[in-house]
């Protein structure tokens, strides 16, 4: 009897549907912004479906914030078009775009209470007073801060302030939600909690969201699609799974966690996606998976994630295995990071669960299907 009851309750709670998005599609074409001689953003093209959660990911200076500010209208792009459901908003001033924005430093109005902060956007829309109170309470309930309504921002913790900032942005039911590194001022634990919170709110409201971050974990865990940027250009667009498993360039691979990058030379012409024979600068022959077509003698970059590097006991052999010596061992909680010196250029970092001792000799194995080989032409722009 009781079990049956519990079953029914679970079935009820799992049927969560995303509400219908407020826009059908956002179309961005050729968005370009220069600051003096610096092209901060070049030919930014992106199509976003209503309700999608998109991350702009990249290191500082890659143009992600510039792109966001151009979308918001806070920066005037030099060129390009922004269309919401076919209507251009590129010339609309920010206050009339009806977009929501969450800032890195929260930007709560310090002289207004939490409730008045959240009500601000509704007051600007001249919503009826009774409705304002009701909607403010509802959205404060959504971010679980209803009891803080009469406090001032300075009386709240960083995480609470950021939730208020989110509440303030979503209460007006914006057509597009823009978030500029909203979690980067929070400490590690809070950051993970807030990530879940943002995901929950996005699920609940179905707001089309553009989210700027330099944190790959944030981008991967939150997004429907990730836009990887570098020096003002889009380098790759794809689902978190795609960009993580199939990075399109050495840059994408390295930004998404392939910390071991080896400069190599191609030994035999190979087609895209095939197994490729390469040789390191120090003359070690290796085999890898070609991520592009290569000709004999091309220089290339071989990339592998620390968690894919295998460390074996000294003397064990096999393909792509060379002897090495453990330099440092770092315990990082859920795993151990071991850096190994060998004939390869630089140290190779391996993530293992075994305990190795510093100074120990090991067999370093780079599994060929995990060793991704990219053209070297963008190695100069490596992060």
């Amino acid at each position: 009897m009781q079990a049956k009851h519990a079953g029914a309750a679970t079935r009820e709670t799992v049927t969560i549907e995303r509400p219908a998005p407020r826009i059908e599609r956002l179309r961005i074409r050729n968005l370009t912004k220069r600051f003096g001689d610096l092209a901060a953003l070049r030919n930014f093209d992106l199509d976003v479906q209503g309700g999608e959660f998109i991350s702009l990911l990249g290191p500082s200076g890659c143009g992600k914030t510039t792109a966001l500010n151009c979308l918001a209208g806070l920066l005037e792009p030099d060129d390009g078009e922004i269309e919401l459901d076919g209507a251009s908003v590129a010339r609309t001033p920010p206050e009339r775009r009806r977009f929501g924005m969450v800032f890195q430093n929260y930007a709560l109005f310090p002289h207004l209470t939490v409730g008045r902060n959240v009500a601000f956007g509704l007051e600007m829309q001249r919503a009826p007073r009774a409705q304002i109170g009701e909607r403010v309470d509802r959205v404060l309930g959504l971010v679980r801060l209803l009891d803080q309504r009469d406090k001032y921002p300075a009386q709240l913790s960083g995480g609470q302030q950021q939730r208020i900032a989110i509440a303030r942005a979503i209460v007006t039911e914006p057509r597009l939600m823009l978030m500029d590194e909203p979690l980067s001022n929070l400490d590690a634990k809070l950051r993970i909690e807030m990530r879940t919170e943002i995901r929950r709110i996005h699920r609940a409201l179905g707001l089309t969201t553009i989210y700027v971050t330099h944190d790959q974990e944030e981008a991967l865990s939150l997004s429907d699609r990730v836009v990887l940027m570098q020096q003002g250009l889009i380098r790759q667009v794809g689902t978190p799974r795609e960009v993580y498993i199939e990075p399109a360039s050495a840059y994408a691979a390295s930004f998404l966690g392939a910390r071991n990058l080896l400069p190599v030379r191609v030994v035999a012409a190979t087609g895209d996606g095939q197994e490729i024979q390469i040789e390191t600068e120090s003359g070690v022959p290796l085999a890898g998976a070609a991520r592009s077509a290569f000709a004999l003698g091309d220089s290339a970059i071989a990339a592998i994630r620390p968690e894919h590097v295998v460390l074996l006991a000294e003397g064990r052999g096999g393909d792509n295995t060379i002897p090495g010596r453990v330099e440092t061992v770092e315990f990082v909680g859920n795993s151990i990071e071991v850096s190994v010196r060998s004939k390869l250029t630089g140290e190779v970092i391996a993530r293992t669960e075994d305990l190795w001792r510093e100074g120990e000799t090991v067999a370093l194995c780079l599994p060929r299907e995990r060793l991704l080989v990219f053209p070297a032409d963008d190695s100069g722009e490596m992060i």
Partner: protein, 282 residues
């Protein structure tokens, strides 16, 4: 404990200065004012308030100090707001606004006398353009003094407010803009409330300075009539009638009024928002 003592030690120079230059003269003046040439303890005070001509100096001074202070605020608030971000020629403009501070009141009065006088450039231009039939009287009356006080005090008010506005986090305005606030609403709902403490301080400083006006009231005003300010009354008592005691009494009354207004403004300020002018962690 030790650090507290060093802190106290560091306070000493300022404390000594205040004691020597403010507290001591104040009490000295107070004592002097209570020792009239003839009559009881408060004779000087009852004389001052009993004489309509003397009493009127308070109103005369307020009529100069309040308009000058309000004009300054009205001009400086939008200007400071406008110049909160780097704009072209900012240094030059700031320099121009601050220049009057480097000129003395007397030099300023001299310049104004010839510029705004009946045969000055200002009136000549008005007559030439046919805007006015006859010269407008802008000196030797209260208007002249108000203009001169405004020019002299403007830099202080402007610089103070500029400092305040620049301290307001620029993302607050952007946040308001994204929430649908137009330029006026951003200023009125966000910037102005955050500027209130600065405005109160600027008001207090400007008012106290203009309330003590003497040279320009004499040179540009009508010292026998509508610009017979309270400082002039004190001066006349002390150095024309050589009644130091009466002069001290008037000075004490003047200080009392200034303290009263300061108390009102700063007391009112503390009841309004006084927190930080940024919206979170920087």
């Amino acid at each position: 404990m030790r650090r507290d003592r060093i802190g106290l030690l560091l306070l000493c120079p300022a404390l000594l200065l205040v004691l020597a230059l403010f507290v001591y003269p104040l009490f000295y003046g107070l004592r002097l004012s209570l020792q009239p040439r003839a009559g009881g303890l408060f004779t000087n005070y009852t004389d001052f308030f009993g004489d309509a001509r003397e009493r009127e100096t308070i109103v005369n001074t307020l009529r100069l100090a309040l308009p000058a202070t309000l004009i300054n605020l009205a001009l400086a608030i939008p200007l400071a707001y406008r110049m909160r971000r780097r704009i072209w020629g900012q240094r030059l403009i700031t320099g121009m606004f601050v220049l009057p501070m480097t000129l003395g009141t007397v030099l300023l009065a001299q310049g104004m006398l010839s510029f705004f006088g009946p045969r000055g450039w200002f009136n000549k231009t008005l007559l030439l353009l046919g805007i006015s039939e006859e010269p407008i009287r802008l000196v030797h009356n209260a208007t002249g003094v108000v203009i001169s006080l405004s020019i002299a005090e403007f830099p202080v008010v402007f610089l103070l407010l500029l400092g305040f506005v620049s301290g307001i986090d620029p993302t607050l305005e952007r946040a308001a803009q994204m929430l649908g606030a137009g330029a006026w609403q951003r200023f009125y709902r966000i910037i102005l409330p955050l500027m209130i403490p600065g405005i109160a301080t600027a008001f207090a400083l400007s008012f106290v300075a203009t309330f003590a006006v003497l040279p320009s009231a004499v040179m540009l005003g009508q010292p026998a009539g509508e610009t017979r300010v309270i400082a002039l009354a004190a001066w006349q008592a002390a150095y024309e009638r050589f009644d130091y005691s009466a002069g001290a009494a008037i000075a004490i009354i003047m200080a009392g009024i200034q303290l009263l207004v300061l108390g009102l403004v700063l007391g009112g300020r503390s009841r309004l928002y006084r927190g930080p002018a940024t919206g979170g962690k920087g």
